[in-house]
């Protein structure tokens, strides 16, 4: 197992190098080049030349990339143009909040998604099956930021209006924006979870339907095993592999999706940081946040691979 993990870690290195190169190269896409991007459009040629020297941009590209990698390994991602703070410091403050949002959303969506998927698969072609799958597809179709806005309208306008009209005057039920208390988590988590829950429910249903057709399920039933045990012990356990993969991949997607949800709910996470800095053209922060999210995404995929091998003894470790 250790050998397998090490091999997968080694295989992830070229991808991570590729990611770092893409992020490194991205600033060179900016019209005028990185020095113009950093100094601003009104910079004089002398200022740009000086900045090029200071940043080592007058050196060959390969040397610049190696230097960039060296700085990255020392957790030096430069300084924010806007705040002047080290980028690492900015990310350190914001990342835990994004992770909190992603982890809670993933937990909520997994529990609900798997339950709905299993229930739909055990009653194929029933009203619940059809209804839940249409609902799931609608959930996937809903833009995350729009469902966030709709939740805000519901909890901050419609529900208080209705409660007031029936004699329970109240203000907004949940705080529409910000962070700090568990109430602040409810709306962004619901918006994020609705989308990934729908994907997980569809996946769970499809896999369970396949597993429930297998001979060993018929054998378990023929032996007189209780239906609950057949479903949850015999079937779900074997259906878990693809579901775990989807859940793992969803975590990465949630990190990306957080960019939109955090913008809607003014959640002070890494996604919001990215969006805010784009309008300021704060390139060091943009590079730093993109690199962090992508490394998180690669490492999550790696963890899913390892978990997959751990869950399925048929997968060889070497």
């Amino acid at each position: 197992m250790t050998k397998f993990i090490l091999r997968r870690l080694l295989l992830a290195i070229p991808t991570l190098l590729g990611v770092s190169f893409l992020v490194f190269a991205s600033i060179r896409l900016v019209p005028g080049g990185p020095a113009v991007a950093l100094a601003g459009e009104l910079a004089t040629p002398q200022m740009i030349e000086q900045l090029n020297r200071e940043l080592g941009l007058d050196q060959p590209l390969l040397i610049q990339y190696v230097n960039y990698l060296g700085r990255m390994l020392r957790f030096d991602l430069g300084r924010s143009i806007r705040s002047g703070l080290p980028v690492v410091e900015e990310i350190q403050t914001r990342l835990p909040r994004t992770l909190l949002l992603a982890v809670v959303s993933l937990a909520v969506s997994s529990v609900l998604g798997i339950t709905i998927g299993v229930t739909a698969a055990t009653r194929p072609n029933s009203l619940f099956d059809g209804g839940s799958m249409i609902f799931a597809l609608l959930g996937v179709s809903m833009p995350i930021f729009w469902s966030g806005l709709m939740l805000m309208i519901f909890f901050a306008v419609l529900l208080p209006q209705w409660l007031t009209s029936i004699g329970f005057p109240t203000g907004p039920i949940l705080p529409p924006t910000g962070s700090g208390t568990w109430q602040h988590l409810v709306m962004p988590v619901t918006a994020l979870a609705a989308n990934s829950m729908a994907i997980q429910a569809r996946m769970t249903r499809a896999t369970m339907l396949e597993v429930l057709r297998q001979d060993y399920i018929r054998t378990a039933r023929a032996k007189g095993q209780k239906e609950r045990i057949v479903i949850y012990v015999h079937a779900l356990r074997n259906a878990m592999l693809p579901i775990v993969t989807i859940i793992g991949l969803q975590f990465g997607t949630l990190l990306g999706g957080a960019v939109l949800t955090e913008t809607v709910f003014s959640w002070p996470g890494i996604g919001r940081l990215l969006v805010d800095t784009i309008s300021f053209r704060d390139y060091p922060v943009i590079q730093g946040t993109v690199l962090t999210i992508s490394i998180g995404f690669v490492l999550t995929n790696l963890a899913v691979d390892v978990l997959y091998a751990y869950l399925d003894p048929r997968i060889k470790y070497s």
Partner: protein
């Protein structure tokens, strides 16, 4: 001299059978709902100019943020422009944007996938290495990065969304090419002296046509959603263009006083994405019944 033709030569598997597939598609009510939504969307997109009840760009401050009425069925936006007309014109933008971006992803992805699967070796290693790196970014992030550095415009949004769909096509076409190139009919064509280009164009691509159609339908949904997301973040079309994501971004500031401004563009996005997803699922079931669950 007559010779019997091996079955593998005569009937390549997975070939696109139009009449049977269409019959199967028509029998699927959900797919028909999807088709209806998609056709309506295309119709609205194509004839936005003719069916719009008002000038989509004409502002009337006295009507600003007014809710639905008999003259303005979906109400007015933050500067009094007719919401319905703007939604219709937004459909045109979404349609154009999704077709172009899916086209970019399709052409590039198919070329890369065929090259990787057909030639294998170093070509495969390099192409799949690039794809692995692209897949290391959550897709919307890749589009955001692209637009953030290139500058926000409708054109760059199209390119960014196109780029993010390349890996899907590359992987799909590569895996199909890998299995098809081992088939007898490809071997026979090679033995008869067919060039690589002929083999790819006449024997491999027709056999990956069905999964490409299915994927493209589903990618249209992804593209429309991604375009709205970029618009919402202010990274898509210029502020005054009635793109659905743009309209949501503008309406966000009036969410409590005029919720209809954010309700309809989001609903339209959801409905069209829903339509393409239903149609895509239906097409997959119709064109490849082995996947039918």
């Amino acid at each position: 001299m007559t010779a019997s033709i091996p079955t593998g030569l005569a009937a390549p598997h997975n070939r696109f059978k139009l009449p049977t597939s269409i019959r199967r598609l028509i029998r699927n009510p959900l797919a028909m709902v999807g088709l209806f939504i998609v056709l309506t969307f295309i119709f609205v997109g194509l004839f936005a100019e003719q069916i719009s009840p008002h000038d989509y760009d004409l502002s009337n401050l006295s009507m600003a943020r007014k809710g639905p009425s008999a003259t303005h069925l979906l109400g007015n936006d933050e500067i009094g422009r007719d919401m319905l007309s703007r939604l219709f014109h937004g459909a045109r933008i979404s349609l154009t944007l999704s077709i172009i971006s899916v086209g970019i992803g399709l052409v590039t992805g198919v070329l890369m996938g065929v090259a990787a699967g057909y030639f294998g070796g170093v070509v495969d290693l390099i192409i799949m290495g690039i794809i692995d790196i692209m897949l290391a970014f959550p897709s919307i992030l890749l589009a955001i990065v692209f637009v953030a550095f290139l500058g926000s415009s409708l054109q760059n949004a199209m390119i960014a969304i196109g780029v993010l769909s390349i890996p899907v096509y590359t992987r799909l076409v590569r895996s199909s090419t890998l299995s098809i190139k081992e088939e007898l009919f490809v071997e026979a064509a090679r033995a008869l002296g067919a060039s690589h280009l002929t083999i790819v164009l006449r024997h491999i691509l027709p056999n990956v046509f069905a999964p490409i159609i299915v994927q493209s339908t589903l990618q249209m949904a992804v593209a429309i959603q991604a375009a709205a997301a970029l618009g919402f973040l202010g990274l898509g079309a210029p502020p005054d263009v009635p793109e659905w994501g743009n309209m949501l971004q503008k309406g966000r500031n009036f969410i409590f006083s005029a919720p209809h401004i954010v309700l309809y563009p989001g609903l339209a996005t959801m409905l069209v994405v829903f339509g393409f997803s239903l149609l895509g699922d239906g097409l997959r079931d119709a064109l490849d019944p082995r996947l039918n669950r």
